[in-house]
Symmetry: C2
Subunit: 286 residues, 2 copies
């Protein structure tokens, strides 16, 4: 059996968005960032949960996992726009507004946002499940999730945030969609509501842990070591700048211990499946 | 009984998107363009179809009608951005990127796009119906609907289109969401598939007719008469520039006759309900 990530990559390449028309490059632009790679972390979270309980539904869950990747990819494309991060590169490729134009970057993002919901609505799953999945995706990827996180990140770029505000930012901008990925796997697997909620809360901790780890890496690594541009300029809203390097390390240690303890409370199949995916991330700052 | 438009306006004002946070104005910006008015044409199409058959479901359909208005409003906000139309005014108010900033305009649009699907998923309707509604909204408002139409409109702004290309543009940019509004009303009303498809096709004709009428108005009226900025510069891709004024009038006459004939094929409740809403538009170029 192919491993889960390979299966997902194959599914993605066979299900890229298409849009035949006489526009010279819009269809090409639609797929560009999806094909550019990335860890596929959100799809893998969902599929790992499904694998633990209802592995028969794995192939039917691919469309939902792809929906998560569409939504995440649209957010990266819009975050990179000139009025936001004004980034030239993403996943090692030129950003869409650099390679094509800003109109294309905005519209490809819009299209992937909408198409994420089309993918979920067309998955071969029960309609009751699909409606719950769509609510979860829209709630965590929308106004009171990812969007308000990004709005706060942009607005307060040059203003100092308090610790609880910085946590609010990253919980909304990143952690909620990670938490939703786990919960959506649990919805497909028909885990009980308590397990769904425990997975969601675990995802919030995980998302926050990753951010603190990123801030530590930004502070301590060169760009070469980190594999991306690092910014340790002292003015940035980061956990390291608020807590100090040692304070941030202590927070990350506490959160990773909490995550490992939570993992141990899940029933063994779920625990094993998530550990296989996550242990290398949970301990990466050490 | 209040009329349908008043009921919808009241529902909208009671269900504006909210996002409590410490961002100084994002929540205000979210509602700004929704409150700014407009004809609410897409919601009214949906509600008029529901009224004709399952008027008991009217109040449960309001969330879906609002979802249509969210999706339409997001598209206006993004169309007005500096890289697209660079418009200062919309519905008589400052555009969001003028009043606030471009980041806010992009993110409010993104949020309304996602929230449209949340509204439909949370409506008090059967899950089977909601899944069909979401497919219809995403298909016609997404990649192979509104988005590719807008991408073509922007890319070919300064290049002459052929007649079939101009039709393709407007069918995708505008007519498909109008057609979807009618079809979504029919899905809620559980009209048979044949009626759903006939309503959809009628919506495509209607959307195209409106565009030809707009082009005629742009050519023949002053801004004061039309109630908006008119552009009759001869270089624009318009039906008048391709067909001449008389040719465009002839096309509009033919399409409005076709629309009226189609209206007459619907069963009497549906016909009456749509006529009440539409006759004034169908004949407005005469």
């Amino acid at each position: 059996m192919k491993n889960l990530l390979d299966s997902f990559e194959e599914y993605l390449l066979n299900n890229l968005p298409n849009s035949k028309s006489f526009h010279p490059y819009f269809e090409e632009a639609l797929s560009e960032m999806l094909k550019a790679g990335g860890k596929r972390f959100r799809p893998m979270l969902l599929l790992s949960v499904v694998k633990s309980n209802k592995s028969l539904l794995l192939s039917n869950s691919m469309a939902v996992a792809l929906g998560l990747e569409f939504l995440h990819t649209y957010s990266l494309i819009h975050d990179d726009l000139p009025s936001m991060d004004n980034a030239d590169l993403r996943r090692g490729f030129q950003t869409l507004h650099k390679k094509y134009d800003e109109v294309t970057a905005i519209l490809v993002g819009d299209a992937l946002n909408t198409e994420a919901f089309n993918l979920v609505a067309n998955a071969s799953l029960h309609n009751d499940i699909k409606v719950e999945l769509i609510k979860c995706l829209a709630t965590n990827g929308g106004i009171n999730g990812m969007i308000i996180g990004q709005a706060i990140d942009c607005f307060f770029e040059n203003q100092k945030l308090e610790l609880n505000q910085l946590e609010y930012l990253h919980i909304h901008k990143t952690a909620k969609l990670i938490a939703a990925s786990l919960k959506m796997g649990a919805i497909i697997s028909e885990y009980d509501i308590s397990t769904q909620n425990r997975l969601y809360d675990f995802g919030i901790d995980l998302g926050l842990l990753f951010q603190i780890q990123d801030d530590i890496i930004d502070e301590t690594c060169t760009s070469l070591e980190a594999g991306k541009t690092t910014q340790n300029d002292g003015a940035k809203n980061s956990f390291v700048n608020l807590l100090g390097l040692e304070g941030a390390r202590k927070s990350a240690d506490e959160l990773s211990l909490k995550c490992i303890n939570t993992l141990n409370t899940f029933e063994s199949n779920l625990k094993n499946s998530l550990e296989e995916l996550l242990l290398k991330y949970i301990n990466r700052h050490k």
